[in-house]
Amino acid sequence: MSSRSTNRLACALLAAGAVILSACGSAGSAASSSSSTSNSSSTSAASADGSPTPGSATPTSSAPVTTAAEEKLDPTALVVYNAQHENLTQAWADEFGKANNVKVQLRNGSDLEMANQIVAEGTASPADVFITENSPGMNIVEKAELFQNVDKATLSAVPAQYSPTTGKWVGVAARSTVFVYNPAKLTEGQLPKSLMDLADPSWKGRWAASPGGADFQAIVSAMYELEGADATKAWLTSMKENFKAYKGNTTVMKAVNAGEIDGGVIYHYYWYGDQAGTKENSKNTKLLFFGKQDPGAFVSVSGAGILASSKKKDVAQKFLRFVVSKQGQEIVANNVFEYPVLDTRTETNRSLAPLAGLDAPQVDPATLNSSQVVDLMTEVGLL
């Protein structure tokens, strides 16, 4: 009796699979041709090579062995530990892979998780390349002496302030801290003059951030560098009193947009990305750039480095050179609204305020320390 129901189950699964497949047979090809300039269509950028083959997509129970073998870490692929937005790095990987006939495989995670992971893996790390959204993660790996020197040519392609003087990694993109606010809740006169103002009791319950994310932790690292440990701890303690925690920068922006909260500390490109797309999560909001070299005007640098333990250093060096090339930087401009480190402009990112005009504070990306910041944030109860 159970075999009958098992058969029925198998039939149901197969039928469901068949229906979906016939629906997608045409959709798959449409997807690969669609361009991706906004957040909402970003999956097409992340889609891997080729269109689905009907045979392989049928859910059958005999599949596990073969699929497991196919998906095994490809020994010939360049392994990138990627903490950047997946669609950006995937676009780099696809372009580079196509041009050089190389396979590039991503493992996705977040900055400090992967940095500490690489340190735990030590010299046996499977990673060849490490890419982050912010520089503190790069510094952890550099301090553990696990990075290979980046080629001089790659370093000199990028303005010097975006890479550490040691040459252990290279800046590949930049993002500016902003205060996103809801003008229905805050008039221009009521806006904070400095990021430090948000510690004031008058801001209690009125601003948001995503303290568990590497982005916000990088901003705090900059504050730590600019204002010192004591001031940062005091600020974080007041923050704990005043702010509301969300998970992710887009979620913060969405809450501000919905009027749940007056404002939030995020990076600029979440807002530009949404504005270029549906405006769904940002249409009721505006951005405040703090400027005046305020800690809140901090421009964070995304880095890329090559692991000393990599057995594919040549390909890895080539990959980094590609990332900072004009073509690689145009991918930054077209995929996310982060600043290309060359401040490259394309049709897509023309609306961005010039990077040089942001009046960001001078912070050496190589000095930003994350472990002290995470400890502090744990101590005051933000983590």
Binding site: S26, P126, G248, S371
Partner: protein, 507 residues
């Protein structure tokens, strides 16, 4: 092996190995406490943030369990004991929410009511996602009890409400407690559903520590508290679970007389419509809404690749876990003794450990000590086995209990070897239980998120990991087809389970 008279030695070894494997996460917790040392452990555990999380998590767990108990029992009573119109239609509709992963329910609600958050929002989502876990056993108990009890109570002058409270409810106690325990453990382990809810629990806080530090002492200490919470729940259920119900024989199972609702049909039906609408209608219509908005562009090849990986992984997990659970279940039923009882209980307790902690334990262990299986399918499958073994054990046990040992003895007496007997008598007779075990594991593995994120090989993408990353960046449109496929895969599996549980209950 005098402890297992006549038990196949291979089974003894396998059962012991599986029990030891299940203990790895618990051992990891103890080890990380020892490693941190009393001073550091105290500093990281006795701090306001932990109190805050304990309050959040505790309130959420208690409220969700209570809400699920009330909602699940009420719905079960309506469909099993009243004349509510369309009971045959409502019964499957009320179980179908199990085919919608909690993170999809959450996504559905957040898209419809963007402001939903905090304790209220989290409780709502947990209740809607998990009340069938109470409904199923309670409905079974309501069907299975002998009506004579209630009839006697009524004949002795008790009104219907007091009869329910004093006679029916005590009989439901084991089912109600068991179901509520499952709700509690699911709530404590839940992670994905809180992503867009602005609500912090231990799991979200542990994950934030993991994101900020990889596997660190601060995260491990939070995991210690979380595991203690889980064990407290298991212990509480164990302590309360022995009901005062006792009788000789099982009575005569016959249909209960259904309560005629009369005008109460209106609120009853409206209530059922509301529950099904909230638990099923909202998430499904949100998914459809985003699918329509996304059009053809969202059906990418990555989606299909993830779907194939998901089904393959889940099938592999189902196969492995069922195969590994069989020896332990076999020993527990056929060679009952102290050791087999301990081995079985160990697996249950270990199964209460949330997948995030299992992930943390295995990542730490493999990266430092077992490098060859680090980031491989081996580690991922070990995690699935540890997490899902208890589900498989329960079903295989009941399957084995129902197949008669005399048939095996006859086979041996007729000269067939132990292996042949096993293959031709025991396994076929226990096959319904094995099928249910495999299906339960399949369903859970197909929607597993945290362990897969932390342990999976580089390049692995499953429907739930992709859904998580897309919905995390509020790309609801791109996330929709992943949610849709998760539901499509889970739906037939859920119905198969429902059918099997009915059959087991003799209907």
């Amino acid at each position: 092996m005098s402890l297992f008279r006549g038990a196949p030695p291979v089974f003894v070894v396998l059962a012991a190995a599986v029990a030891l494997l299940s203990l790895v996460p618990v051992a990891f917790i103890v080890q990380s406490l020892v490693q941190a040392g009393p001073a550091r452990a105290k500093a990281l555990i006795w701090r306001p943030r932990v109190g805050e999380l304990l309050l959040n998590t505790g309130l959420l767990t208690v409220l969700s369990m209570a809400a699920c108990a009330v909602l699940g029992t009420a719905c079960a009573f309506l469909i099993e004991r009243t004349t509510v119109p369309g009971a045959r239609f409502w019964a499957p509709m009320l179980v179908t929410p199990l085919a919608v992963p909690a993170f999809v329910t959450s996504y559905g609600w957040v898209s419809v009511v963007p402001g939903i958050d905090g304790l209220f929002g989290a409780t709502l989502i947990m209740t809607l996602a998990y009340f069938p876990l109470v409904l199923l056993p309670v409905a079974g108990a309501l069907r299975g009890t002998d009506p004579a009890w209630e009839e006697q109570a009524r004949s002795l002058g008790l009104g219907p409400v007091r009869t329910f409270r004093r006679v029916t409810l005590p009989q439901l106690r084991p089912a109600l407690l068991g179901g509520s325990l499952l709700v509690g453990l699911h709530t404590l382990a839940e992670f994905g559903a809180f992503q867009n809810l602005g609500f912090s629990t231990f799991t979200t806080a542990i994950y934030e520590q993991y994101q900020s530090t990889f596997a660190s002492t601060a995260g491990n200490m939070l995991a210690v508290v979380l595991v203690v919470c889980c064990l407290v729940l298991v212990a509480a259920e164990f302590g309360l679970g022995r009901g005062p119900v006792a009788r000789t024989g099982s009575g005569s199972p016959r249909p209960h007389r259904r309560v005629s609702l009369g005008w109460w049909n209106i609120p009853a039906v409206s209530g059922l419509v509301a529950v099904v609408g909230a638990a099923l209608g909202v998430p499904v219509s949100s998914v459809v809404h985003w699918l329509v908005l996304g059009g053809r562009a969202v059906w990418t090849s990555t989606l299909w690749d993830s779907a194939v990986s998901t089904v393959a992984l889940a099938a592999g997990a189902a196969l492995f876990t069922t195969a590994l659970a069989f020896p332990a279940a076999y020993l527990a039923v056929r060679h009952r003794g102290r050791v087999s009882a301990v081995a079985e209980r160990v697996s249950y307790v270990a199964g209460a450990v949330p997948s995030l902690v299992v992930g943390l334990a295995l990542v730490t262990l493999t990266v430092h000590y077992v490098k060859p299986i680090y980031q491989t399918y081996v580690t991922l499958f070990i995690a699935y086995v540890v997490l899902l073994l208890p589900r498989a054990l329960v079903s295989i046990r009941s399957g084995l209990t129902q197949s008669r040992v005399e048939l095996e003895e006859a086979s041996r007496a007729l000269g067939k070897s132990r292996l042949v007997t096993l293959a031709r008598i025991t396994v076929p007779l226990a096959s319904p239980g094995l099928a249910v075990a495999a299906t339960l594991v399949f369903l859970a593995a197909a929607t597993e998120l945290t362990a897969t994120l932390m342990l999976g090989p580089t390049g692995l993408r499953t429907l739930s990991t992709r859904f998580w990353s897309l919905s995390g960046s509020i790309d609801y449109v791109a996330a929709a087809p992943y949610a849709a496929l998760l539901i499509v895969i889970s739906l037939p599996v859920t119905f198969f389970l429902l059918q099997q549980s009915r059959r087991a209950a003799g209907r």
